[in-house]
Amino acid sequence: MEANKGTMIVQLSGDFDKVFAGFTLASASAAAGMPTTIFFTFWGLKAIQKGNLTGKGFMGRMVGLMNRGGLQRLGPSKFNFGGIGRWMFKRMMKAKGVAGLEELRQACIDLGVKFYACKASMDVMEIRREDLIPEVADIVGAATAVKDAAAGSVQFFI
């Protein structure tokens, strides 16, 4: 297949809808044969966390508790209503044949999308490598994210 320039997605948001957008664009991009990278930073890290409780110190543990990671726990940016919105959106998506976040993330992995985790965010939120899914390719800094973005022709910031 014809070689294409790459796609770089910065996934800052950990909201259900915005992670959905990130994985959808990444899978479509990888499906088109473009080298695709997602750089997960700050709240976006939740999308590649296993879902266990995290944190070492008091504040880190509080963040881990209040902002627990894992795809199952992501709520929409609007109409979450303490989890009811998440349930509602999941139901509506399923009824319309729209793939869930787990399926989309797996599609990204199968198509070779590279997952990078932001080192600084992990330090701040006291998230360890073991808290992330094993498919994460590397833990990197902003310079690597910029290098990948420069090598590509498409950048999304979500």
């Binding site: 294409n4 088109a32 044969g33 044949g97 793939a99 599609a107 198509l111």
Partner: protein, 79 residues
């Protein structure tokens, strides 16, 4: 489209964006040059997306056929 004999058929009826395309890409990766993939899909977005994907990846869009409940798209793998 009557004359086309697909080498593989992909069932994507009931699937929404981006899964028909994701599965199409996965299928095409494991097929050889010249082989034809038929995609059955009822997602309206697939109309534009199958063509766009072919255009971008350099594969050949052979055409589509209205099968009533769904559409049949035919794509040939290039090199």
């Amino acid at each position: 489209m009557q004359g086309i004999k697909p080498d593989r058929v992909q069932e994507s009826v009931g699937q929404a964006c981006p899964m028909p395309i994701v599965n199409m890409a996965k299928n095409m990766r494991t097929m050889s040059a010249g082989q034809v993939l038929e995609i059955k899909a009822d997602d309206e977005g697939a109309h534009a997306d199958v063509r766009s994907w072919c255009e971008q990846t350099g594969n050949e869009f052979l055409g589509e056929e209205n099968a009533g409940e769904y559409f049949r798209y035919f794509v040939r793998r290039k090199a």
